[in-house]
């Protein structure tokens, strides 16, 4: 990937590194807290895939919308959902970004148009179609970014949603996080054709595939993709990536070898980006150190916030089954 001049100022590079590290350190803490039984339920971490959410979401504007999966802590963080509210959610506290009702798989945030946190694989795709349709019908310039795994590309809703997006010319950015596995099923057992982006061609949808471990590459391609979508047409961006950790906390990882995992870890997106920026003289080791400290403080404060959180009263259990008030 060529290095477009002027894009990566020191400020921007620090910010990119900061986002990558926020996800990494936040989730490392989550795993720790899971082991300490502070977090329960299913926990799916994004470690290894941080460059995707970072590279894509940083291109969005505040009026844009995001639909994500159950592996969405990273997306929520980059989008600007407060780390404290996310952590409190995983604690099941009332101060959580879904008042403790959602947990790790169901983060929501109205303020940043973060529409979940969907734990039905493929289930978010039609929602993104509808959000984009609403923007279009109301002549709002918004882009809806919809994240999903390559496993979701086998579901019928993927096909149905791409068809609608193309037919109706909807401003949806489909972001396929192709990490080569759906739980323990390798892509060769999931999909007849091993790359996802060309599937868009069957609908006449513009598409690209990019090295999802390389923030510089994702950043560049995602920028062009978002521009395309903002002009009013869908785009499918496939990011080739890898999850370094188990699928969830209940995964013996019988389906892949340690050496395969290690070979991918050699392309850790954080180290790749740091090295690149330092080689180009844009960042220094001190930058990395400072960003790490800032991130550590944020994570610590998030944990503190969650710890101090309160439990929703039991009598409020039936609340929110139906809407309580007129939404704006």
């Amino acid at each position: 990937m060529s290095f477009p001049p002027g894009v990566w100022t020191r400020e921007r590079a620090r910010r990119g590194l900061w986002q990558l590290l926020r996800i990494r350190r936040f989730e490392e803490k989550c795993v720790e807290l899971y082991q300490a039984a502070k977090i329960r339920g299913f926990l799916h971490v994004y470690i290894g895939e941080e460059a995707v959410a970072t590279g894509v979401i940083e291109q969005l504007q505040s009026a844009d919308a995001i639909v994500a999966t159950y592996r969405e802590h990273g997306h929520a963080l980059v989008r600007g959902v407060s780390a404290g509210a996310i952590m409190a959610e995983m604690y099941g506290k009332q101060e959580g970004c879904a008042r403790g009702r959602g947990g790790s798989m169901h983060l929501f945030d109205r303020a940043t148009r973060f529409y979940g946190g969907n734990a039905i694989v493929g289930g978010g795709l039609p929602l993104a179609i509808g959000l984009a349709l609403a923007d279009k019908m109301q002549q709002r310039p918004g882009v809806t970014a919809c994240f999903f795994g390559e496993g979701a590309a086998a579901e019928g809703e993927f096909h149905e949603s791409l068809n609608l997006a193309a037919l109706w010319k909807l401003p949806v950015l489909f972001v396929c996080e192709n990490n080569l596995y759906a739980m323990g099923t390798a892509i060769r057992d999931e999909l007849a054709s091993q790359s996802v982006a060309p599937k868009a061609a069957a609908f006449g949808i513009a598409h690209a595939a990019v090295d999802g471990m390389d923030l510089v590459a994702v950043d560049e391609v995602a920028r062009r993709a978002v521009e395309h979508v903002r002009r009013g047409e869908p785009f499918l961006l496939e990011c080739r990536t890898y999850r370094f950790r188990a699928h969830s906390m209940f995964d013996a990882e019988l389906y892949r070898t340690k050496s395969e995992v290690e070979s991918w870890k050699a392309r850790d997106p954080i180290e790749l980006f740091t090295a690149r920026m330092q080689n180009e003289g844009i960042l220094t080791p001190v930058d990395r150190e400072e960003v790490e400290q800032k991130v550590a403080a944020e994570v610590e404060s998030a944990v503190g916030f969650a710890e101090r959180g309160t439990w929703e009263a039991l009598e409020d259990l039936p609340r929110f089954v139906y809407a309580e008030a007129e939404s704006p």
Binding site: R101, L125, P126, L133, E160, L164, F320, V321, Y322
Partner: protein, 333 residues
């Protein structure tokens, strides 16, 4: 397209639904309707005929065949500030969209801690009686009423066909409206006092000897049966549920307290159907009022067959309602 607004003209149930949709599209710029063949075809039951010409293809939006995606798109559009009316041709096809309905529409408000709501209306045809066989005839509205987070309505009269949609669109929750296919050609007058109510059951006929609780297509049959029973000196009170979730317990129990005998008439299958829930609630709330066990008359537990005589035998009919009431009040000896 004739303009049907005067209360005194005779209109069909179909026209009443169409007027309701037209009113929504006229009065709320956020409202639009989408579904298979709602536009150029005019609606598979001709409900939406003429609306494409009046409102254009953006707001009367033909969709490809993809129930899951277009229902999900309705949810997303509702989240995005629109007021979608999604039409699914018949309830059997809605099963293709059930994941979106139960796992998304019904949960999003709760899962998000109240941040998001889904002001979506889904209309669909339901019910047997047209010899459409086992993939087009079921009555699953009572089954849908099991799902927390949605509202389920079943307009059984021309008035409700005309006014329930507006009430549904006023809510911020997903509302499913089930229109029984046998009712579309039913004719009648709109009453002078439109009832935009999505909370109450209605007593459609008063009587002393027994109560029939019903809704939808069985309402007409039950009223006919009441007429026949009247001739035999049996006064049947007829409660039209109107809204299947949440149920209006008070109206039901009031009638139980008056007649002490109850028959539930439901075109859904018996086991685990809505009829069971009503019986159970009466058990819980009015046990000591009962002079006889609550009885149920439901669809036979078969995938509905094509042949006319078999299909008729599978569904509650006027004569079987009469017989069930007679048995309930001990009129047969």
């Amino acid at each position: 397209m004739s303009q049907v607004t005067s209360a005194k003209e005779t209109i069909t149930y179909r026209e009443a639904v169409r007027e309701a949709i037209r009113e929504a599209l006229r009065t709320d710029p956020r409202a639009f309707i989408m579904g298979e063949d709602v536009g150029h075809y005019g609606g598979c039951f001709a409900v939406t005929r003429g609306l494409l010409e009046e409102f254009g293809s953006e707001r009367v939006r033909d969709t490809p065949l993809c129930e899951s995606a277009f229902v999900g798109a309705g949810i997303g559009a509702a989240l995005g500030g629109m007021r979608p009316i999604v039409e699914i041709m018949t309830v059997n096809f809605s099963l293709l969209a059930l994941d979106q309905i139960m796992n998304s529409a019904a949960t999003l408000c709760h899962m998000s801690g109240g941040q998001f709501s889904v002001p979506l209306v889904i209309r669909m045809a339901t019910g047997g009686g047209k010899q459409l066989a086992a993939q087009h005839s079921h009555s699953l509205e009572g089954w849908y009423a099991h799902i927390p987070g949605i509202v389920v309505a079943a307009p059984g009269t021309i008035d409700d066909a005309r006014w329930m949609l507006a009430a549904a669109l006023e809510r911020l929750d997903p509302v499913l409206i089930f229109e029984n296919q046998t009712l579309y050609n039913q004719k009648g007058c709109l009453s002078d006092s439109p009832q935009r109510d999505l909370a109450h059951a209605a007593v459609r006929r008063t009587g002393r000897n027994a109560t029939a609780v019903t809704y939808g297509a069985s309402l007409g049959k039950t009223l006919e049966a009441a007429e026949l029973l009247q001739a035999a000196g049996i006064e049947l009170e007829v409660v039209d549920l109107r809204v299947l979730r949440p149920l209006d317990d008070a109206t039901i129990m009031q009638s139980v307290a008056k007649t002490h005998r109850v028959l539930i008439v439901d075109e859904g299958w018996r086991s685990g159907g809505l009829s069971a829930e009503i019986s159970a609630r009466i058990m819980e709330q009015a046990f000591y009022e009962l002079d006889a066990p609550v009885a149920r008359l439901c669809a036979a537990e078969v995938p509905l067959p094509y042949a006319k005589h078999l299909e008729e035998a599978a569904l509650p009919q006027v004569d079987s309602i009469v017989a069930a009431v007679r048995k309930l009040v001990g009129a047969d000896g």
